[in-house]
């Protein structure tokens, strides 16, 4: 078996060499080349919630039941044309008629149910399930030819929003995660995947919606932002959806957009001296966010007051960001010290390399600012695996006080996707346990309409003013570079998807 594989390797090498010398010119006209920072390990649509998978697959190859409008979080029809809650625990979704999968199968209630069951199968670790559904018990069944009933054990008012993550695949798809040739209903058919080099898609003639302009799409992968930016500049690529701020130097080609990410330093409130609210307030007052904006962070970042961005349902627009007031910060520190709080205890700032551009400089800058307020801090930069040990449960028993550099994104329309994990007593990254916050999260999760929104907003207020669980930083901005021959404007959803049907030529 291995001999076969070795000969495969040898023939691959020789083919590489031969083909290399005769690579045909790639006709530019109606074709699009997108350069991403990383190759996706997997193109299975049930992993489409991962941004480097979603940018290729989501809404291009495989579509979701509903689509969330990034501007205001409202829910629009996609493969489902209508939905209603029939009772406390059940939602009905009407499936669009006359749609076919790339392999010829029909889109109907049966195929949707099969697709949902596959994504939520606990035997496989589809990210749709692990990220959004957890251990929620969901049962999907077909009612008639084009209606699907989704029933849960507990009320789920945001089921429609959740269905915005559910990518639908053909009933012929293998059960196990890892399909390398996904068959969906989207405007593009999955073409070839040359591992390590490129992925290509071709326009689907039988698409149910409007015919897109781009005929073929090719995705290539370059780790260095400078290289991605260079490729678009020379015309080797058309779109680089994500480049670093210092490479975005061309005002004609570069666009900045809110990428729905929020950067913060998470305070471990369970460890002294961070359990004293004066200490936490002082930290927020000691950081000069304006000095960081336009220097280490892009000019367009917005100071945060809460973990969710303004377009999310539950965002409280009445909260004001912390001002920079070093004198006040020092006063608070002195007051805490006078009460016996050990403000001089060494606090470790845990950073994650590359979490956002200039992440290391950001940590060094914050370190300098917090030290001025009188704290004793040490920076520890780590790579992702090590950092995760500090960010998420289970926490080490013998840990000291830490500030963990974090970034969270939520562009799924509702605060519920952020609040439990970050601030509930048992949340995976939470170090807070406040009864009012806990009650608020529980109530909002099952509420609807205005009540839901108001409850979330009260939770945000309590966190911002009474609890202060984070050193609040920014809602982040991303940068894209787009070649002038292309007409495409990145939006908040460019962080996780790139709908080729929205791309036009100039």
């Amino acid at each position: 078996m291995t001999v076969k594989k070795i000969s495969l390797a040898i023939s691959t090498a020789s083919i590489l060499a031969i083909v290399g010398f005769f690579s045909p010119a790639y006709s530019a006209s109606k074709n699009l080349t997108v350069v991403l920072s990383e190759e996706p390990d997997i193109v299975d649509p049930c992993e489409a919630t991962r941004s480097n998978v979603g940018r290729i697959v989501k809404q291009n190859v495989s579509e979701t039941l509903v689509e969330i409008d990034p501007k205001d979080g409202s829910i629009k029809a996609r493969l489902a044309t209508g939905w209603k809650q029939t009772d406390n625990l059940t939602w009905h979704f009407d499936i669009r008629k006359g749609v076919k999968f790339h392999d010829g199968e029909d889109l109907n209630a049966k195929s949707v149910v099969k697709s949902i069951k596959r994504a939520l199968n606990p035997k496989y670790d589809c990210e749709i399930r692990t990220k959004f559904f957890g251990n929620m018990s969901v049962s999907a069944s077909a009612i008639g030819s084009h209606t699907v009933a989704i029933k849960t054990k507990k009320p789920q008012p945001i089921m429609p929003a959740l269905m915005g993550t559910m990518t639908i695949v053909s009933p012929n798809t293998q059960e196990a995660k890892g399909v390398r040739n996904p068959q969906g209903t989207g405007p593009y058919v999955f073409g070839t995947w040359t591992p390590g080099q490129s992925v290509s898609l071709k326009r689907f003639a039988g698409y149910w919606g409007d015919k897109p302009v781009v005929e073929n799409v090719k995705y290539v992968f370059r780790k260095e932002s400078a290289v991605r930016a260079a490729m678009v500049k020379t015309g080797e690529a058309d779109i680089a959806p994500n480049i670093a701020v210092q490479d975005a130097t061309d005002s004609k080609m570069d666009f900045s957009y809110f990428n729905s990410e929020t950067a913060r330093l998470r305070i471990d409130m369970s460890r002294k001296p961070l359990d004293d609210i004066r200490v936490r307030k002082a930290m927020n007052l000691a950081v000069d966010l304006d000095a960081l904006r336009g220097t280490i962070f892009a000019k367009g970042v917005v100071k945060q007051t809460q973990i969710v961005v303004p377009s999310i349902n539950g965002h409280n627009p009445r909260l004001k960001p912390w001002p920079y007031n070093l004198k006040e910060a020092k006063k608070l520190v002195a007051a805490a010290k006078a009460d016996g709080v050990d403000v001089g205890k060494e606090i470790v700032m845990i950073g994650r390399l590359g979490i956002y551009p200039n992440s290391t400089e950001a940590m060094e800058a914050m370190h300098a600012m917090l030290t001025e307020a009188g704290f004793n801090l040490k920076i520890k930069m780590m790579e992702t695996a090590g950092w995760l040990n500090f960010l998420s449960r289970p926490y080490a028993e013998d840990r000291g006080p830490t500030l963990v550099q974090g970034q969270h994104d939520n562009n799924n329309g509702d605060a519920v996707f952020s609040m439990y994990n970050k601030y509930a007593c048992k949340g995976a990254q939470s170090t807070t346990c406040d009864s009012k916050v806990e009650a608020g999260i529980k109530a909002a999760t099952v509420a609807t309409g205005d009540k839901r929104r108001d409850t979330w907003q009260e939770v945000q207020r309590r966190l911002h003013q009474d609890i202060v669980p984070d050193v609040q930083m920014f809602h982040m901005v991303g940068f894209s570079r787009v070649n002038p021959r292309i007409n495409f404007t990145p939006s908040i959803s460019t962080n996780s998807e790139l709908q080729v049907s929205q791309v036009k030529f100039n």
Partner: protein, 304 residues
């Protein structure tokens, strides 16, 4: 009758060495430069005012060669507004320590192992060489990540990792030299005269391997500096707030288009130090090899 005492002998030796330096101007410049670097490494951080290493966001990415600011900012400022010159001075200490320790460690241990393996051969020698093979096939990156994860990512651990990965090159070179030298006539002569093994190794063979080992070591010094920089590029090297030249280059690479000096000056100084080391090493090689010394000594008319 000449009365020669100790003092005149030493003076005479020094005079000879000095004249040998004069005959190789490049080596002279190199040693002066290296002594300067050593001085900066030891005393530099104490001589500069703290303020220049403090963050100053208004001077972020300040361009070099301007006369408007303090002379400390002549080479520009980095992404946090810290003076490049100050950062380079502080980085000298760490860089020299890491690279120097790693090289000395690996040269000594690797050299001895290679000597033993080459001279005695047999099973022991074989095992030593297999060890070299294993180390060479072991990705230094994996080791660095593991060390960084399990222990505190500090200078000492970085030195150990770097030294460990450079061992094989000394082991194999020393062994190769020994294999070749062992066959020479004078060694067979020494053996037949009944010299003990240790005498043969340390008096006859080892001195002959040293020139090659030193040549490799001085080059290796540069590679260790660059290796440490590569680890920083991949995110598993020395971590801020510690700083080395390598880390400065790695961090500066993100700014090549808008602030080229962030990566250029630390890279330049790495190159200059490496260059000096090598020029010095080829001078050393000639001095230490009795058959080549004549090129540097003032015997008769100089042919140059």
């Amino acid at each position: 009758m000449l009365i020669i005492n100790e003092k005149t002998l030493i003076l005479k030796k020094l005079k000879i060495i000095f004249s040998m330096f004069l005959n190789d101007k490049l080596a002279l410049i190199s040693i002066i430069f290296l002594i300067f670097i050593l001085f900066v490494a030891i005393f530099g951080p104490y001589l500069i005012n703290d303020s220049f290493t403090k963050m100053n966001l208004r001077l972020r990415n300040l361009a070099p060669f301007s006369f408007e600011h303090n002379f400390m900012y002549f080479l520009g400022a980095d992404a946090l507004g810290r003076s490049m010159i100050a950062r380079l001075i502080v980085g000298t200490q760490n860089t020299m320590f890491i690279a120097g320790s790693a090289v000395i460690l690996s040269m000594t241990i690797g050299g001895v192992l290679g000597l033993v393996s080459g001279f005695f051969g047999g099973k022991g020698g074989n095992i030593i060489m297999r060890l070299a093979d294993i180390i060479m096939s072991f990705p230094s990156l994996l080791l660095a990540v593991i060390v960084l994860y399990m222990f505190d990512p500090g200078l000492i651990n970085l030195v150990i990792v770097l030294a460990f990965t450079r061992l094989p090159i000394y082991m194999r070179t020393a062994r190769a030299e020994v294999l070749e030298i062992r066959e020479r006539l004078f060694v067979s002569a020494a053996i037949s005269m009944g010299a003990s093994n240790s005498r043969i190794i340390f008096k006859h063979i080892a001195p002959l391997t040293i020139p090659t080992l030193i040549t490799i070591a001085t080059l290796d010094f540069a590679f260790v500096m660059l290796g440490e920089s590569a680890l920083s590029f991949l995110g598993v090297g020395i971590q801020p707030p510690e700083v080395t030249w390598g880390l400065m280059v790695a961090q500066g690479r993100n700014y090549l288009q808008i602030a080229w000096w962030l990566a250029f000056f630390p890279g330049l100084i790495i190159m200059l130090v490496a260059l000096s080391l090598n020029l010095l090493s080829s001078w050393l090689r000639i001095v230490l090899d009795p058959r080549q010394r004549w090129r540097l000594e003032n015997i008769g008319v100089k042919n140059e």
